[in-house]
């Protein structure tokens, strides 16, 4: 009784059930996400064509990748699209949520209207916006038909602004979800803060900008993860709307990966491109994840 013996059971078997139940997650994380990624990176150093082959060629695929004008265009597009879609999703999503939070009538109806596009796939979204933005019989055509002959609105056929045409569709589809997240966040804010601001005589917009938004940090972070993961993966929408056109003006990295893996039957090139995408994701995510999860552990 007095000895400090420690009849401590093996750590392995503590919470055994929890560990067993987590096996699917562990397998997915290790085998699919980690293993699959490693596999991809590994084969990006080969000259695999249609089928993966272990024929190493060093960094050739990467050299070719960074020499390809289409890849550069894709990167640039992703940057523009990414930044804009982040900003607009957040701004529009937040504005909509703020509007809906004004204790308005028919809130349910409005919310449903803003949210329903999220139920549609990107393919459908792309298709329908391709149609609406068609200069001949879409919006431009209709406006011209009304007599405004010089009206010009043909984002999908103008290489300069095509990426904005895609953005319009993407925002249409995705802002509803963001709005929901923001609305949930707004509803979580202490009623008293609003009252305090009113007593202080702070105008509504200032209250939002200086007080409410800074308080909604966690919501913004969740939202950011959701938007950002969507941005990196954007593919279907471009395919359905422009197939990367006009020319290569609306190409995006995910499409480059797909095209080179399957159309061009050059797996090595596709893998090299996806490795670069992963790298950039990791550069962005890991510091963030460290900040978010690393810090929480000490609280």
């Amino acid at each position: 009784m007095t000895t400090r013996q420690n009849g401590r059971p093996s750590q392995l078997f503590r919470n055994l059930n929890a560990k067993i139940a987590s096996i699917p997650m562990i397998l997915t994380a290790l085998v699919i996400f980690l293993g699959g990624t490693a596999w991809t990176v590994f084969y990006s150093f080969t000259n695999s064509k249609l089928l993966p082959r272990l024929n190493f060629i060093g960094l050739d695929q990467y050299e070719r990748l960074w020499a390809a004008p289409r890849w550069m265009v894709a990167i640039e597009n992703l940057a523009i699209y990414g930044v804009l879609s982040l900003i607009f999703s957040l701004v529009v999503g937040f504005l909509l949520a703020a509007l809906l939070d004004q204790k308005i009538r028919f809130e349910d109806t409005f919310r449903t209207i803003f949210l329903y596009p999220f139920a549609l796939s990107f393919i459908v979204t792309g298709l329908i916006w391709q149609w609406l933005l068609n200069p001949d019989f879409g919006i431009q055509g209709v406006v011209r038909g009304l007599g405004w002959e010089s009206f010009e609105f043909d984002p999908l056929y103008n290489a300069e602004i095509v990426i904005y045409g895609i953005l319009i569709a993407a925002l249409w589809q995705g802002t509803g979800l963001i709005m929901c997240l923001m609305l949930a966040g707004l509803r979580g804010i202490d009623e008293d803060i609003w009252k305090a601001a009113r007593v202080d005589g702070i105008p509504m917009w200032k209250t939002y900008v200086f007080i409410i938004i800074p308080m909604m940090r966690p919501v913004f972070i969740t939202t950011l993860v959701i938007i950002a993961s969507g941005i990196v993966r954007v593919y279907d929408l471009v395919v359905a709307q422009t197939s990367g056109g006009p020319g290569i003006a609306s190409e995006v990295p995910a499409k480059y990966v797909y095209d080179y893996m399957f159309h061009a039957q050059n797996l090595g090139q596709g893998f090299a491109a996806s490795t670069m995408m992963l790298l950039s994701v990791i550069i962005v995510i890991v510091p963030w994840a460290y900040l978010e999860f690393g810090r929480r552990r000490h609280v």
């Binding site: 919470n15 997650m25 699959g36 991809t40 919310r111 803003f114 993961s229």
Partner: protein
């Protein structure tokens, strides 16, 4: 502050003004058409139009005949309403040699969606529960990998997963597809469930342990019954995602179990021949109907669930 109050208040306030302007009494008079209301509802209605326009165009187009579409304005309502395109999209549109429209894929989609939704949510909710309440060593690392996994483009994973499925002998079967959906649904769902279960008071979990309930008993008897809102969110997200999926449905199964989206793609994406926009639109609406119904039916729960799960933590 709710509007009905504002309305009757407006009336009483008006009387007061009539009596004595310098002596306000009762509620502040509020005109229904105040600047604020005009701005608020004006903006909302304008935005609502933007959101509804595509749906309107789809719907209107699907009710027009082809000649009318070629001539007319996409926004004008149909002169002559025809349900032909709907019938065609559902029952007679051809996919290669099979001319039975979307109806063929519908049941396949149901057969794919139900087990995929069930399995992916089951797995993710257990994961989230284990992560939130049982925090074993290393769990955070796996979770982080999972979250980073949410950013990987699907296309990159096609090959490795083909190989893995082949090795475990599930390639081409419905279960293979179900597993694929569960894998790709896992990151976001696990995040949702983890956050939700973290917000459940820890004392409840402790009480159950004192009461002698184990991992599974706590999950099934205590946590599950409390997690309805987050389940609704998960179900909505998964039904939408899986129902709309094309890539996995076509790559990891066989033609006899192709989902509805494959037929949709075939109808919409045929390289040759004249494009039948009305059929395309009808087919599009038909395909999107299931997720749309799910949304319309449970939108309120969706926001509540998100408030409970996604936003915290």
């Amino acid at each position: 502050m709710s509007d009905p109050a504002a309305l009757n208040v407006a009336a009483s306030g008006f009387e007061a003004v009539a009596k004595d302007v310098s002596d306000p009494r009762g509620a502040k008079p509020r005109r229904v058409l105040s600047r604020r209301n005009i701005f608020l509802y004006g903006t909302l209605i304008l935005i609502a139009v933007y959101y509804l326009l595509p749906l309107y165009v789809m719907f209107v187009t699907s009710l027009k005949g082809m000649p009318e579409i070629r001539l007319g304005n996409i926004f004008s309502p149909p002169v002559e309403i025809t349900f032909e395109p709907w019938v065609k999209a559902w029952a007679t549109a051809c996919t290669g040699l099979n001319c039975d429209g979307l109806s063929r894929g519908f049941w396949n989609s149901v057969r794919i969606t139900i087990p995929s939704v069930v399995l992916s949510i089951a797995v993710a909710s257990v994961n989230g529960y284990a992560l939130a309440n049982w925090r074993f060593k290393g769990a955070d690392i796996f979770f982080t990998i999972l979250i980073v996994g949410a950013f990987i483009p699907y296309q990159v994973m096609i090959y490795p997963i083909v190989i893995i499925l082949r090795e475990i002998g599930l390639y081409g079967s419905l279960w293979g597809l179900v597993i694929v959906h569960s894998i790709f649904g896992m990151p976001i769902l696990t995040l949702l469930f983890r956050n939700y279960f973290t917000s459940v008071p820890e004392e409840l979990f402790k009480a159950a342990r004192v009461d002698g309930a184990g991992f599974w008993a706590i999950y099934f008897k205590i946590m599950l019954p409390m997690a309805l809102p987050i389940f609704v969110v998960a179900i909505i997200l998964q039904v939408t995602g899986i129902w709309n999926d094309f890539l996995f449905g076509v790559i990891y199964t066989k033609p006899e179990s192709y989902p509805m989206t494959v037929q949709l793609n075939n109808i919409v994406n045929s390289v040759q021949g004249v494009k039948e926009y009305n059929v395309n639109m009808a087919a599009t609406i038909l395909t999107g109907l299931v997720p749309l119904i799910v949304y319309f039916a449970s939108g309120r729960l969706f926001v509540r669930g998100i408030a409970a799960g996604a936003v915290k933590g």
